[in-house]
Symmetry: none
DNA sequence: CACTAAACGAGACGGTACGTCCCGTCTTGAA
DNA sequence: TTCAAGACGGGACGTACCGTCTCGTTTAGTG
C-alpha cells in the first residue's frame, strides 16, 4: 500500500480539469479531490503544500503536455522552414483550441504566462537549442552568428505565438510567408539553399 | 460628502503597497483598508467588486505608473537610438529596482505579465506607434517597410526587457551595442550619424 | 424650526407599522425613517436612544392604543358584568385581529408581553382600580374585601386574556358564563342584584 | 468525530451564561464560542440557525432547568398546601436570586416571558395536571369541579409568581396565608389544619 | 491465512477572510 | 438655521475554504 503514483497523476489532472472549468481562483481543494475520486485528506497527503502546490503542478503539467505535443509535431520535420512553420501552426492552433489554455488565458492568464516569460529564459533557450542544428544544416548568411541567430528566431517565434500582429496564423500560407520573409530573411543564406527539400508549400 | 476621489486613489495606492509587501495572494482587504487609513467597509463602498476589483486596480495603476515614467524618460530623446537605449535602460532598471514589480514578479508574476502579454497587443502597438515617427525621421533601409520595422522593434524590445539573454542591460555601452547591432541593424539606413555600414541583411 | 411633535408621532407610528410588517428583529432604523417620510438622521434626532428607544416607543404606543380603545368599549357599561364581558370580548378580539399584536406575538412575543407582565403590576393595578367602583356599586358577598376582590378580578381577567383555556372568547354567551361562574361567583352578592344601576362614576 | 453532544451542551450553557452576563441583545456568537471553548465556526456547525437558534436553546434550557429544580422541591410534598407553599416560595426565590433570570427580566424580559405566557398554555396545563392528584386526595368543596379548580390554582399561582401584589413572598408565613386564604379558600373542603386528610398520593 | 501496518474516507475543528448589513456619528449642501 | 442626504468607522453576521487532526475501514504485503 505504498503511495500510488497513479493517484498523484490523477490529482494533477483533476486540478488541471478543475482549473479549466472553474478558473484558478475558484478551484477548491475539495473540487480537485472529488474530480480525482479521492478525499480531500488524500490530496493533502500527496501535496503537503496544499492548494498552491496542487495548482502549480497542474499548470506545469499543462505546459509540459503542450511542449510534448509540440515536439511530436516538429521532431521529424525535414527542414528549418518546416520546423518553424509546423511549430507556429501547432502552437497557435493549440492556444486557440485547447479549452484549458483558453480558460486560463481568459480567467487568469496570470498563471499561464509566467511559464512562458518568467521561466521564459529556459523556454527560449530550449527553443534556440532545438533550432540550432537545423540552422547549421541549413546554413546561415555570411557574417551571421549561428547562436545569435537561433536566439533571435526563438525570440521572434515566442513573440508571434502570443501576439500574431497582422498575420493569420491559421493559414499555412501566411505562416509560411511570415517565416520566410520576417523570421528567416537575413538570417539564412538564401530563400532556400538550393539542393534538398524540393517540395515545399 | 460625495464619494471622495482622493480616497479611491489612496485605496489603489494602498493596495499597490500591500501587494509589494505581502504579495498578491496574501493581501487582505483589511490590510489595504488599514494602509489607506480607511475602514474595510469603505473599501467595499469604493470597490463593490471587492478584493478582486481592488487588486486589479492596483496592478493597472502600477503598470500605468511604469509607462508614465518610461514616457518621461524618452519623450524628449533626440534620436531613434536614444529612444531605444533610454527606454531599455529605464525599463530594465525599473524592473530590477522597483520593489513592487519585483515582488509581483517573484510571488505572482501571474498578475503582472498579462498586462504585458495578453494585453500585450495594445502595449506593443503603442510602442510601435511611438517609435514610428523616429523611424521615419531616421530613415529606413531600402526595401524595408516602416510599419513592419516599427512592429519588429517593439517585439524585440519587449523580448529583451523581460529576458536580456547574454546582455547586461545595466551597462549603457552594452545596451547601445545591443540596440545598434541587434535591433536597428538591417532596419535603418546607417549605423547612425555618418554613412557607412552599407550592406547588411 | 422647533422640533415638530408631529414628526415624533409619525416616527412612532412608522416604527409600529414596520414592526407589524417585518417583526421586531428585522426592523431597521432606515425602514422606520422611510415609512415616516423622514431621514434616518432625523430619527436619531428625535430618539437619541436610537433603535431601541424607537422600538420601545412603538410598543408602548401600541399598548396605549390598545387600552385607549378598550376604555372606549367599557367606560359606559352599565354593570360589572357588562364591564368584564365587554372587556374580555374586546381584548380577545383585538389580540386575534390586530395584525400588529399578532405579528409581535408570533415573531417576538418578547416585546409585547413585558408590557403586560413586568409592567404588569401597573396594568393590574389600573384594571383593579377601574373595576373597584363597579364592584362597590354592585356589592360584594359578605366577608369579601372589596380591594382584594378587585385585585382578584384583575388577575383572572389578565390570565384569561392571554390563555382562554377551554372557553371560546369569541362567543359572547360563553364569555358571559365565564364571567358569572368563574370570575364573579363567590365574589359578589348574587347572580345580579336586581335593581338597576342608578348612579355610577 | 461524530458531532459531540457534550459540545452542544457546552454551547447551550455558554449561551446561557453569556446572556446572564451581557444580556440577550449584546451576546455575540463569538462570546458564546469563547465561553464554550469552541470556535465560532463550530457554534454554527452545531446550530445552523446561528445566533437565534443558539439563544432560543439557551432560554429553553434555562426554563427547563428552572422547572426541574422546582419539581425537586415539591415532588415529595405531603399535602396540597405544602406543594403550593413550597412551589411559590421556590419560584419567587429563584426569580429574585437567579442571576440569569434576573438579567433576562431586566434587559429583555422579552425572551423569558413568552415561555411563561405564549407557551403558557402548556405550562399552566402542566401545573394544573400536577396539582390535580393532590386536589383529589384533599377533597374539593361541594359543587366545585376538580379540573376547574386545578386550572384556577394554576392561573393564580402563575399570577402571583410574577406579581406578588401586597404579599411578601419571601416570608413563608405570608405565603402560607396567601395559599390558604386566597388560593385554596372556597376550593377545598376545610381550612385544612385539624385532622382529616386520610389518603394522599 | 491471519496479522499488522499503511493508506484512505470521512469529517470535526480552529482559523481566517470574505462580502453584507446595520448602527450611530458626523459633515455637507440646499431650502 | 434646520433638515435630507449620505459617507464613514465599527462591528457582528453568516459563509466558505484552508490546513490539521483524529478516527474507523479497507487493503496489502508478510510471517
Amino acid at each position: 500500500m505504498a503511495p500510488d503514483p497513479a493517484v498523484r497523476a490523477r490529482l494533477v489532472e483533476a486540478a488541471y480539469a478543475c482549473v479549466a472549468r472553474y478558473g484558478m481562483g475558484k478551484t477548491t481543494v475539495e473540487d480537485i479531490g472529488r474530480e480525482a475520486g479521492v478525499s480531500r485528506a488524500t490530496a493533502y497527503r500527496y501535496f503537503p503544500g496544499g492548494r498552491e502546490e496542487l495548482l502549480d503542478a497542474a499548470v506545469t503539467h499543462g505546459v509540459a503536455q503542450f511542449f510534448l505535443r509540440l515536439y511530436e509535431q516538429i521532431h521529424d520535420a525535414p527542414s528549418l522552414e518546416q520546423v518553424m512553420e509546423r511549430g507556429i501552426l501547432f502552437a497557435h492552433r493549440a492556444i486557440v483550441e485547447h479549452e484549458v489554455l483558453r480558460r486560463i488565458m481568459e480567467t487568469d492568464p496570470e498563471l499561464l504566462l509566467p511559464q512562458l516569460t518568467v521561466e521564459g529564459h529556459q523556454v527560449r533557450a530550449s527553443i534556440a537549442a532545438f533550432l540550432l542544428p537545423y540552422l547549421r544544416a541549413h546554413g546561415v548568411a555570411p557574417g551571421v552568428d549561428e547562436l545569435e541567430a537561433a536566439d533571435f528566431l526563438a525570440r521572434m517565434t515566442m513573440s508571434y505565438m502570443t501576439s500574431p500582429g497582422r498575420w493569420d496564423l491559421d493559414d499555412p500560407a501566411q505562416v509560411s510567408e511570415l517565416v520566410r520573409t520576417e523570421l528567416l530573411a537575413g538570417i539564412v543564406v538564401g530563400p532556400e539553399p538550393s539542393g534538398s527539400d524540393p517540395a515545399r508549400p
